[in-house]
Symmetry: C2
Subunit: 534 residues, 2 copies
């Protein structure tokens, strides 16, 4: 560290895992946030902003029997030695807010919030230590109508951002069913918490690893392609079979039993899924049609005797009926038993928003964007403060992931706003003249700036180019004499420069440059702009 | 701290100096930020977002010969023991960004940024440890045309937010003049740094304390009304007189020398100032007309022989000419020698945006909102990294202060957006019916929600009221039988309830409640909304 003020020069660098966000991305992001806010608003949610950090104990980030905050959060002590931590999500601060203002809030309380959250974790490609979340939560109702609403809201948000119906799906499940199944498998009880967590994580990976991978993770463990070994839950075969039966409950109806008409198959769209790992594969069925009622019937048949699972299945049925009544069928919202969500605090319905279209990466390899948001019911979070249970459910949108997908789909406008019109300075003794031209344009609502450097015309043109200017304004001695200005269309000029080969030809035609009276400036610039932007 | 997981209940409370921001303020703030961004955009500035924290050394927050960061910032160590600090402004991160990407940036580089900053200071009423700044900076040009631009931009921003011309003023000065005056007073040199800072702070308080107060602070020190003593700079009388002469340079022309026509006085508006402390007071002049040329002449006459002051005066003249050429006269931008700005890093032009209208507080006492933003030239900040000087100038808008002023002026829309239409649940066995009604309204673009609690109709009505709902939708057994819905206008209902006295009369008239066919729902609700909002 710097001991001498004179010689020390700090290195100009970002902290590990941090990034700067440039103008193009900010503009797209703001547009996106406004659209999401509009949908959240339409459902009656109200915005709430909480500060960047909270008392660590309020975030629940003390481990039992430890004096220092949990790893995973950025923490520091206030001058009175109380620990503070940067928020790692938007839910924990909401729980604090609700507990603090419980009596005065209109309940059920619907709130939305967006903003950065911070994770003290090892960063990786595309994984930053600061990123943006956009959450909607409903606090103070046990009714699963609140969960149903969040599933519909998730679908509406994704469509509002320009992703077509059929290119995404909201996957729905209930942790009570999963917990009931674990109970039926003899895996309840405090002493089996670690095994349960391993099983949960295994099932969560069904999408990526398929049948065989999940079986290994439920059993002895699995070595991946790189040779890394993930320890398994160490369950015996009958218990693995029971859990696999649970997974298979969501497979839907074999396509061949539903239809063999290709037009009908096309109409089913997203609902038709290829499940290479499902148990019916042996019977020649690789395609299945998701049907929420069928899944519910399946689950009830197999696990309905377990009290907890049964209550979870009932809730799923209520949600399924609710969303169908509002017009959201399996094209948008499907029940999927493999959706268990990682976080331990979920206590009921859980859901995940997934993009389903296939895209190609730079090298032409297929990529899936996968999950772009999720959430579920967490009835215990406010109870930490209040001692009484305050039921709550929420949905969190993964803004960055969704942004990548939108950029990929080119569903967002040009990533760069049109640059400003640049007024070149032809005479540094007469800067007010050029300033006035820029101001005239700005007052007419045209984005414009005067060149502020000290370089000559060539460098000024280069600057305008770098700024993405649609055109530059030139007023030299001659133009001043005539009361005129020159307008040089840089976009047209750049296009023409590809077809005109000799510089003589260029000068003769001078196709992208026009001279107008100074009082015609605004009209002429508008004309140039309308050539390139609508 | 929690030793036992079972018994510990954290208190639900905000950290010291922090606050939650509610829906009303968020909506106004977003609206405001969008308007400011539009002005900044129009001047050719581009948005840039930097992370919430930086390496402490990059923020320049190490004191010489210390191993720990300076007080005033919130700091913590990364796992590699490097110190990180939450940003305390948006300028230091900009300097880091520019130094890091110097070669690829189009220069001069105009960027804007908004977001929270954090100060590890003692909070007070209206003083929080997290607040929002909105900055525009131009990096890479020595030209004071950049400073002129920022003064005009500041004026445009304030007007765009609904503050009338004449109700604000941009005050402009140059630190070079002040430094030259200090030099002329024999106060240059490293050993007199503390005295200079005290003198700077004294002059900065001229607005509030007037002539006598400033004289005390330049001399022996001052005891305020509460009895607190502020030590002075301890200057001898001749030096105090010199500094007062400097302050008086900006007093303008005595009004009686300019005009005695009341209509003309009114036309001069903001330019006419009452200076009770100025030296001409003895001559019976309490009112003066600010005239930038006159101020420049004054300054040149009194301090033009000092080389540094002279170069500062020249710069002021250039800026004054530039803004006048663009149509910004003394009604909007005035030269004021008492504007010195607190921060030590300013090296040239400095400016401050001030609201000048008189307002009344809750108790009818006059209040002035005063400064709502400011900035200036800081040519040394990037040099910390690069070793070479990179000239820069910036303007920072005090978003929270401006917001208070706008709320006071009622120049911002209703502080509360219309609440959602609430669909009451009359039959908890038939929730999908009510969900569908809510969805029908939302799809028509109407903000709507279904009641999600479990309470009866009276509590549901109370909930709708608390939510600020314009109307509720009621569909009980009778309405279902008729295929109808009831729409109860809560706003009209509340107004009528003040004129109708008997509940019998109320029930008979039932003035704010209408019944329509379910297929008429959207049209009828729109009609109710159009009664109250346009």
């Amino acid at each position: 560290m710097a001991k001498s003020k004179k010689t020390f020069r700090p290195k100009a660098r970002l902290p590990k895992g941090m990034r700067d966000i440039d103008a193009g991305e900010i503009r797209i992001m703001n547009d996106m946030l406004a659209k999401v806010a509009q949908i959240y608003d339409s459902y009656g949610f109200e915005p709430l902003e909480t500060p960047a950090f909270e008392y660590t104990e309020a975030l629940g980030k003390f481990l039992p029997d430890q004096e220092r905050p949990n790893a995973g959060v950025f923490s520091f002590q206030d001058e009175d030695e109380q620990w503070l931590s940067l928020r790692y999500d938007l839910t924990a601060p909401l729980a604090r807010h609700v507990a603090e203002h419980y009596d005065r809030l209109a309940k059920p309380f619907r709130r939305y919030a967006w903003g950065p959250v911070w994770r003290n974790e090892t960063p990786g490609p595309g994984r930053f230590r600061q990123f943006t979340q956009f959450d909607a939560d409903t606090v103070g109702t046990k009714s699963v109508a609140a969960d149903a609403e969040l599933c519909m809201l998730a679908a509406d948000v994704i469509e509002a951002l320009g992703i077509a119906r059929g290119d995404y799906v909201i996957k729905l499940n209930n942790r009570k069913i999963f917990d009931g199944v674990l109970d039926a498998a003899g895996l309840s009880g405090d002493d089996k918490a670690a095994t349960r967590l391993t099983a949960l994580r295994a099932i969560d990976k069904y999408d990526r690893l398929g049948k065989d991978g999940v079986k290994l993770l439920l059993g002895p463990g699995r070595k991946d392609a790189s040779g890394d070994f993930t320890p398994g839950a160490g369950l015996p075969d009958p218990k693995i079979d029971l859990l696999m039966k649970y997974i298979y409950s969501g497979q839907g109806l074999p396509l061949k039993d539903v239809t063999d008409d290709p037009a009908e198959v096309a109409r089913l769209g997203n609902r038709v899924m290829k499940f290479s790992g499902f148990e019916d594969e042996e019977n020649g069925n690789a395609f299945f049609v998701i049907d929420n009622n069928f899944t519910i019937t399946n689950l009830r048949k197999k696990f309905g005797k377990n009290h907890l699972a049964s209550s979870g299945i009932d809730e799923l049925e209520i949600i399924s009926d609710l969303v169908k009544a509002a017009g959201y069928d399996e094209e948008r919202i499907i029940i999927d038993p493999t959706v268990v969500r990682g976080l331990e605090y979920y206590t009921g319905p859980v859901f995940e928003a997934e993009l389903t279209f296939e895209a190609k990466d730079d090298k032409g390899r297929p990529v899936r964007f996968g999950s772009v948001g999720g959430g579920g019911r967490y009835d215990g979070l406010v109870a930490r403060f209040k001692g009484i249970e305050v039921p709550a459910t929420g949905f969190s949108l993964g803004v960055s992931r969704l942004l990548s997908a939108l950029i990929h789909l080119q569903r967002v406008g040009q990533t760069r706003a049109p640059g400003p019109v640049v007024v070149l300075v032809m005479d540094f003794e007469d800067v007010p003249r050029y300033q006035r031209l820029a101001q005239t344009l700005r007052q007419a609502g045209i984005r414009a700036e005067m060149y502020l450097g000290t370089s000559g015309m060539k460098a000024q043109m280069k600057y305008a180019d770098k700024r993405g200017s649609p055109c530059v304004i030139i007023q030299g001695e001659d133009e001043i004499g005539n009361g005129n200005v020159q307008i040089k269309d840089l976009i047209q000029g750049s296009a023409l420069s590809k077809t005109i080969t000799s510089s003589q030809e260029w000068r003769a035609a001078n196709p992208a440059q026009i001279e107008v009276g100074e009082d015609e400036l605004v009209r002429a610039v508008r004309k140039v702009l309308s050539r390139h932007f609508d």
